[in-house]
Amino acid sequence: MTLMKSLMGAAAAVALTAGAALANPALIFDLGGKFDKSFNEAAYNGAKRWADETGGKYLEIEMKSEAQREQALRRFAESGANPIITTGFAMSAPLADVAGDYPDTKFVTIDGWVDAPNVHVVSFSEHEGSFLVGMLAAEASESGTVGFIGGMDVPLIRKFACGYAQGVKAVNPDATVISNMTGTTPAAWNDPVKGSELTKAQISQGADVIYAAAGGTGVGVLQTAADEGILSIGVDSNQNHLHPGKVLTSMLKRVDVAVYNILKDGADLEVDKITLDLADNGVGYAMDDNNADLITEEMQASVEDAKAKIIAGDIEVHNYASDDSCPVLNF
């Protein structure tokens, strides 16, 4: 019996040390998948940069269905991962359920909202970044009609659309903004065929610049826009290279920087609720060799001017999420 006990004790000790050795941070990608060339890929790039620089290791999983969310969170928490970073607003509800059960583990939600002492909330001022690309769209447009194609119809994506429409109207008050959402289920993040059809529909309504905030669906939007010879605007990651000379710019959301900083803090992360905005360079627009010919110096100057004014508070960009309504766009 004593032998049994000591054996059990040894086994438990081994299990514990194994658990401690596994105290790596963990990263949970949302349904769009790690390589969506957009939001999740930005998170992946941040984690990769951290791993390359520090030689650290992190655990990761891609969500395949809604049902996996809570299970993945619990698996990682029980294996001792800390902190656990989740991407996407849809993780809010499972995170709110799970966080209380693991008070010593620090969770991070990017784009979500959970009010708990061990959940670090990172959000972005997407409406400000979208405002800037909206200005560029209006300046590049010849027809005076620009388009927006969102992924799943959720308040977060409407926030993009609303900021974009405000930017367009700031440059050209008579401009028409056509706004479409791909769908109302998570499948809307991965339906490039529907993205293409929406693009064609918007082109036939006169749009000559189209902004896609739609995860994997955006690949279809950018492709069709390039095929049909109009301009498109990418989202989250820099997508200018996908079709050089055909993508006007990309609305950058520096999820990579956020993830990198969180991983650098590791388990010492200070739990807080932060919003990364223009002033923090949390959002912005992408300029590189691929779109240098598309954006004139005047265009860039006017956008930089607006950026400074937004940071100083002279221009107030309405945030859809603040009151669930948009002054310039009907959904």
Partner: protein, 335 residues
Amino acid sequence: MDFLTLIQVLDSTVRMATPLLLACLAGLFSERAGIFDIGLEGKMLMAAFFSAAVAAVTGNVWLGLLAGIGSSMLLSGLHGLASITFRGNQLISGVALNFLASGLTVLIAESWFQQGGRTPSLFTKGRFNGIELPFAIGPSEAEAADRPLSELIKEANVIQQLYSELISGHSILVYVAVLAVPLTWWILFRTRFGLRLRAVGENPAAVDTAGVSVRGLRFAAIGIAGVLCGIAGAYLATGLQAGFVKEMTSGRGYIALAALIFAKWRPWHALGACLLFGLLQAVALRFQSIQLGGVSIPVQVMDALPYILTVVILAGFVGKAIPPRAGGQPYVKER
């Protein structure tokens, strides 16, 4: 709504309906022979991946199409092995195919291309581009006039608009899909093979008594289904899109099954059902909410309509949908 808008919506309808139609005809052959095929979705997805992958590697879209058809037929063969040879449950085998395709495509794509479960973007030679029919206004006229195509079409007369926008400019697979309808009708209702194929779905014992191989006929039927699903998948990845993206079929295989029931397992009706479902999708894409006599219909209703209509048909409100009598039952030869 002006005439041109109507034409554009119909144009979009044709594009949305083509993969549905091909998958629906695939299901028609299979189910008429008594093999339920839930795996249409999986076969399309597999074909979409292999057609895009081979087209990306070789730069030849026709090789891609062949690879797509081949991979889809391979899955058909698996389905046949499980449900005809080993007399397994056809529904479970079909569901298994869907899971298999969903996992395998991403896995192979990741190992071949390291782009996170997608294929590289295809360029002109690797895609089925639109065919310009004679006398139609197409991209070449637009290039010659150095003006956008949409402007040229807007200025053209009504018949030219109809011809250039709706009939011309689709990829060759669209015309193949439309021609497949009369061909299917002819094979099923005017040939000896078709008669036997239908008989094997109604009363396999009678076919067996007549000395015709039930297994052979059923394998032939799912083979044809494999070819049609292969074309559907290739159209998605190399016609509509320029590459494969994971889960890119997004439920079109299931809508095709709904269309099959809606059409009551008849080829011409299948064309009608697929065009109707395609039209619903196209309208939902073009108009986010529709005002009808002061009531606004949200876009979700349009998305759900194919399923609602199928339930209505199944419930027997509009005629009765009777599936082939021997459908779903493995045939056991009497000893």
